[in-house]
């Protein structure tokens, strides 16, 4: 059984008043609906007894009142419970977003899954706030129907009171396998959709090797598995509904026959008989509504479990880091015996105000190191200090103000090129310096709208080289005391690379810069190069020195 209680409790608890108001109003609506067949019976009864103009007038007046009540209570009840659901979903979505942006890193899940949980599962879980009023009002309707029948005849009331639990038991019994099937169906549908999107995302690759046809055939397999699961789920659903129809139909037959005999023997009136039959028909709705509610609760619980798995995933927090000025201060960045991932006791010093390069031919070493520097992870062993303060003792947000890491696949955000570069800029001057050092002005010059060009689809409308230069400008514009750049120029041509390398020292003058790179042009700018091999520091010195001293280094940086 998936754990979902925490999220479901929040969904209800956060909107308690609206849900309760919705439930009360929905119950009033159902009571009104139950009164309609009673009034029909009452009016027909008057007609059977002879000319009935007063009876008709009274009946219609009462009917008008009943309709007014049921109509308005439905309207405001629906609005109240829907509002409770949408607002709860909104709250969950924000909570999830805080968790994804949390100070200790995102939950380990792929982006597509997180987005679908935040967009859809939050809503489905929050739909509990619609289900509760509806289930409650259905119970009230059943109770109202039973009371009305009891008033007509104890026998008829007893029939309903016995039949209702039996029918609800039937719903529960038949609903179990349905829940399983519909869960399977949802999984299959999500899979088919995921495969389709994945294939379309890789369409250039498919076209490059002419594999469109094979890909379409492979998708057809997934699509058919999804179809078959959907057919099975729908069949189970259909037979559940059919069974309910038959059961309530049989109940109607019992009520009609018992009522007919009571009327024939004069124990109840014709109007009572008509009302009893109408009530029996009316009760189909709350019964099927309860069946529906059961299914919805199952769906809400499954979705809530998915939300909960993210919101309470271990090692993450839903407090986002606050960029506090009270950071570690300035000074040397010192790693002492850092153990993390593939790193085995890495010790190195990044002196303040200098460019330090790190050559890590194994991508696993590089990413472990970058995770630690970006405060995305706390090293398993060893310490990282800045100006003598251990980073582990500080809020990651405070650390990041002082140590900024610009990833190799730096993401650009919706907005203009200018707004991306300015995102975390220290000043307008810094922006200008950064743009020119990163050669980003030539990116803008090549685009029709210049710096005002809108970035769409996370920068995919730009070439790799253009994206890198914008991301580099954004990083440089922060003027962070320590700036870590991971392979910032791999997608630019060699002349541009050389221009960036020559502008970098001036742009970062007086501040510490860490270049995790194997680009010779950048390595030449470094005062000191650290060479990592097999998770350990294997060499230290200038680029020139290491080229001469270490064949492994030479092979790693020179192609």
């Amino acid at each position: 059984m998936p754990v979902a209680q925490g999220v479901l409790a929040e969904v209800f608890g956060g909107q308690r008043r609206r849900v309760i108001a919705g439930a009360v109003l929905a119950a009033a609506h159902q009571a009104g609906e139950a009164a309609v067949p009673v009034l029909i019976g009452w009016t027909i009864d008057r007609a059977v007894r002879g000319p009935a103009l007063t009876g008709l007038a009274q009946g219609l007046a009462l009917l008008a009142v009943v309709f007014l009540v049921l109509s308005l209570s439905f309207r405001f009840g629906l609005q109240s419970s829907e509002k409770a659901a949408f607002l709860a979903a909104h709250d969950l979505r924000l909570r999830m977003t805080r968790r994804v942006l949390g100070r200790y890193g995102s939950p380990a899940r792929r982006t597509g899954e997180l987005v679908s949980v935040a967009a859809d599962d939050t809503q489905r879980a929050a739909d509990l706030n619609i289900v509760i009023p509806r289930a409650f009002s259905s119970l009230v309707a059943l109770a109202a129907g039973a009371v009305a029948l009891l008033r007509i005849s104890v026998l008829l009331g007893v029939v309903i009171l016995v039949a209702t639990p039996v029918l609800l038991g039937l719903v529960h019994l038949l609903g179990k396998p349905l829940e399983r099937r519909s869960h399977h169906q949802q999984e299959q549908a999500a899979r088919a959709s995921g495969v389709a999107v994945d294939l379309i995302t890789g369409v250039r690759v498919l076209k490059g090797i002419g594999a469109e046809e094979h890909a379409a055939e492979r998708f057809a397999d997934t699509s058919r598995a999804s179809r078959d699961a959907a057919v099975r789920a729908a069949r189970a659903q259909a037979w559940l509904e059919g069974a309910m129809l038959t059961a309530t139909g049989l109940l109607l037959a019992v009520i009609a026959v018992v009522g007919g005999r009571l009327a024939a023997t004069g124990q109840i009136s014709i109007g009572d008989l008509v009302a009893a039959v109408g009530l029996a028909q009316f009760l189909v709705w709350p019964l099927s509504s309860l069946a529906w509610a059961g299914g919805q609760v199952a769906a809400a619980r499954a979705s809530a479990a998915r939300v909960q798995a993210v919101v309470f995933s271990s090692g993450t927090s839903d407090e986002v880091a606050t960029p506090a000025a009270a950071g570690p201060g300035t000074g040397h960045l010192v790693l002492t015996g850092v153990e993390h991932g593939t790193l085995r006791g890495v010790s190195l010093t990044v002196p303040a105000g200098q460019i330090t390069a790190i050559v890590a031919p194994d991508p696993a070493d590089a990413s472990a190191l970058l995770d630690c520097l970006a405060s995305e992870a706390v090293p398993d062993g060893g310490t990282i200090t800045l100006g003598g303060t251990s980073l582990a003792t500080l809020d990651p947000g405070a650390v990041r103000v002082h140590v900024r890491v610009s990833a190799h696949e730096a993401d650009l955000f919706t907005g203009t090129i200018a707004s991306n570069i300015r995102a975390a800029a220290a000043s307008e001057d810094a922006v200008r310096t950064a743009i020119s050092a990163a050669q980003a002005d030539s990116v803008a010059a090549a685009l029709p709208e210049g710096f005002d060009t809108e970035i769409t689809e996370r920068g995919m409308s730009l070439s790799g080289g253009q994206r890198q230069r914008i991301a580099l400008a954004r990083a440089l514009a922060t003027e962070a005391p320590v700036l870590v750049l991971h392979e910032p120029v791999t997608a630019v041509d060699s002349l541009t690379e050389a221009a960036i390398a020559s502008a970098l020292p001036a742009a970062r003058a007086g501040r510490a810069t860490v270049l995790v790179t194997t680009s010779p042009a950048l390595l030449e700018t470094a005062a000191q190069v650290v060479y990592l091999r097999d998770g350990q520091v294997a060499g230290l010195g200038s680029h020139e020195h290491l080229l001469g001293a270490d064949d492994g280094y030479r092979a790693a940086v020179l192609a």
């Binding site: 309609v36 027909i44 007609a47 009935a52 109509s71 439905f74 309207r75 405001f76 609005q79 829907e82 949408f86 607002l87 979505r93 792929r110 995921g194 890789g202 369409v203 690759v205 498919l206 002419g210 469109e212 890909a215 379409a216 492979r218 998708f219 057919v231 729908a234 069949r235 659903q237 259909a238 037979w239 509904e241 059919g242 129809l245 139909g249 009609a256 026959v257 007919g260 024939a264 014709i270 008509v274 039959v277 109408g278 028909q281 880091a321 947000g397 990833a407 993401d411 995102a423 975390a424 995919m460 070439s463 997608a491 630019v492 002349l495 541009t496 050389a498 790179t517 680009s519 080229l547």
Partner: protein, 588 residues
């Protein structure tokens, strides 16, 4: 970027013809479905007259002598009706679902086939987001409609029509009374579709914006953190979500008023039937049983009418989604290509080709180039010189504005896609590893490849060692959501696919550029291995690739500036020599 050229949307007529085509193989099943549903619904409607008959028997006093046997007939009938109604409805609904799901599967398969078949230039002009949104959002909108709306709609429509027929058979005067509701219902639906339509359209836009923002923020979460942009992004998500919520609640407000108005219609019709009952029963022109049956019919009509009318918007949304899906299927059908002329050999000839993506903005000017069979030519130049564009033209991705591209003497634009791809493969800048087992990814290039073929291809691509070390070997799930491959490993997978596809001509577009120098050299070796024995045009970002090529072509501002052997060009001291000097100086 330039304004997007969105992919087309089908007309209603085209959509209908597509739907008919998808359903044609199931037409007899569809007929059977109709019959079963009709029988089930019809059976259900027999209950009301039987109940009326019970009322009449009570009033007629025929029951006083032997109440037990008087109701045996109606009781049995009601039981039979209940079983037939339940079974018929269940079977019919299951059959509708099966029909719908089969048609839906056919639709999404056709859609994907056509979408992948679209010319790349067309996809790029529209933005890939358009296609992925159709593949996910529109498919699920149609699926929801088929799953939740279609069965209800069909059953409600059947119930409404049959009930009206039954009322007419019962007593036409009660039918007229019931029809008093129709003008109100008609007016209400018109009001609702007019007012709610724009609100729901706005809602879809707001939901789309929310989705986009979530994707933006979640995908970029590490970047958001490292630049301390959390507060700003939280605000963005909050605003987008709040907008979507506000619009959705406006829609709910309209919906609740819509049902209120339908309540008025119910009240009017019910009052009419009751008034008629009070007029006709005392004057003996109708029995109480008939009036009872009529009132029960009407009362039972409320739910189906509300359900059907309440789905009006659902249907609108699904229709729009369906038209977007059909638009792709129809478009691609028109573009099934030309002849199947086979190239004579593996030579590539470019004759006086010019090309531009936009009017008045020419990227390539009168480029001519010949690559001999088996020759390896490196294409160099600064960013924006037109290297990638030239590569795309040779692969037939874009047709040249003027001039001619030939493959073994055959005009590329006259070759159909599959013939073209058998002869020339493009490894583009974009590396994508397909989600799923690694062997499935590789077999995209050659579906009938044996496990040995796959291992051999990985070995030649330099990926043998790490591929063997994967947790489940070739069965390891890679790509989105699976085992994460590094950029260099992904590029090796691309090379392994190339080896498996085994084409005579290869265009390699900067595939090794983005891996960092260390990986780059390994990749260069793997690429050289993969290119062996093929005609190759290598878009060289790293000049080491140019140095080992048979010939170097330097592209500058869309024109061939220099062309010749690496050594000769270096010796000539021109533009290429300067590039080479910058490049090799940094590398000791």
């Amino acid at each position: 970027m330039a304004t997007r050229q969105l992919l087309p949307v089908a007309t209603d007529a085209q959509t209908w013809s597509l739907a008919r085509r998808l359903l044609r193989p199931h037409r007899w099943y569809a007929v059977a479905t109709g019959v079963v549903l009709l029988a089930g619904t019809g059976a259900g409607l027999l209950a009301a007259p039987v109940l009326g008959e019970i009322v009449d028997r009570v009033i007629g006093g025929r029951t006083a002598t032997d109440p037990a046997s008087a109701f045996a007939g109606p009781a049995l009938l009601l039981a039979v009706v209940a079983v037939a109604h339940g079974a018929g409805t269940a079977a019919g609904t299951a059959m509708v679902a099966r029909l719908g799901e089969y048609a839906l599967a056919g639709l999404r398969e056709l859609f994907l086939r056509r979408a992948l078949g679209l010319p790349l230039a067309r996809i790029e002009a529209a933005g890939a987001g358009d296609l992925t949104a159709r593949a996910s959002r529109d498919v699920s909108a149609v699926a929801d409609a088929i799953r939740y709306a279609l069965p209800t709609l069909i059953r409600s429509a059947l119930t409404i029509v049959l009930t009206l027929v039954a009322l007419a058979v019962l007593d036409w005067r009660f039918l007229l009374a019931a029809l008093l509701a129709t003008p109100i219902q008609f007016h209400t639906v018109r009001w609702y579709t007019r007012t709610a339509g724009p609100v729901y359209a706005e809602g879809r836009i707001a939901t789309g914006a929310q989705q986009q923002q979530l994707l933006d923020t979640y995908a970029g979460a590490p970047t958001v953190r490292s630049f301390s942009l959390e507060a700003g992004h939280l605000d963005l998500v909050r605003n987008r979500s709040a907008e979507a919520t506000t619009v959705a609640l406006r829609g709910i407000g309209l919906l609740s008023r819509f049902f209120n108005r339908l309540n008025i219609a119910e009240f009017v019709a019910l009052s009419g039937v009751l008034a008629l009952a009070c007029l006709l029963i005392p004057s003996n022109s109708a029995t109480a049983g008939t009036a009872t049956a009529a009132a029960l019919y009407l009362h039972n009509l409320f739910n189906p009418v509300n359900a059907a009318l309440g789905l009006a918007d659902f249907v609108q949304v699904a229709r729009a989604a369906l038209r977007r899906l059909a638009g792709i299927a129809v478009l691609a059908e028109e573009q099934q290509a030309a002849s199947t002329s086979e190239p004579a050999d593996a030579a590539v000839t470019v004759k006086g080709v010019s090309f531009g993506y936009r009017e008045g903005h020419t990227v390539l000017h009168d480029v001519s180039l010949r690559i001999e069979p088996g020759e390896r030519v490196a294409l160099v130049g600064t960013s924006g010189a037109g290297k990638t564009t030239l590569a795309a033209l040779i692969c037939g991705v874009h047709p040249p504005a003027s001039g001619l591209v030939e493959l073994g003497g055959t005009d590329v634009s006259t070759m159909d896609a599959s013939t073209l791809r058998r002869h020339v493969v493009l490894i583009s800048q974009e590396v994508h590893v397909f989600a799923g087992p690694l062997h499935e990814d590789l077999r995209l290039a050659r579906p009938d490849a044996t496990a040995e073929d796959l291992t051999a291809a990985l070995d030649r691509a330099g990926a043998g060692a790490w591929a063997r070390a994967l947790p489940d070997g070739l069965d390891t799930v890679v790509g989105d959501g699976g085992h994460r491959l590094t950029a260099a490993q992904s590029q090796q997978v691309a090379l392994a696919r190339l080896i498996l596809a085994d084409p005579p001509v290869v265009i390699l577009d900067e595939a090794t550029a983005d891996a960092g120098s260390a990986g780059a050299r390994e990749l260069e070796q793997a690429a050289a291995e993969a290119l062996r024995g093929r005609t190759a045009l290598v878009v060289a970002h790293r000049l080491s690739q140019a140095a080992t090529a048979d010939r170097v072509v330097l592209l500058e501002a869309g024109r061939i500036a220099e062309e010749g052997r690496h050594e000769d060009l270096v010796a000539s001291g021109g533009r290429y020599a300067r590039l080479w000097e910058t490049w090799s100086r940094q590398r000791g």
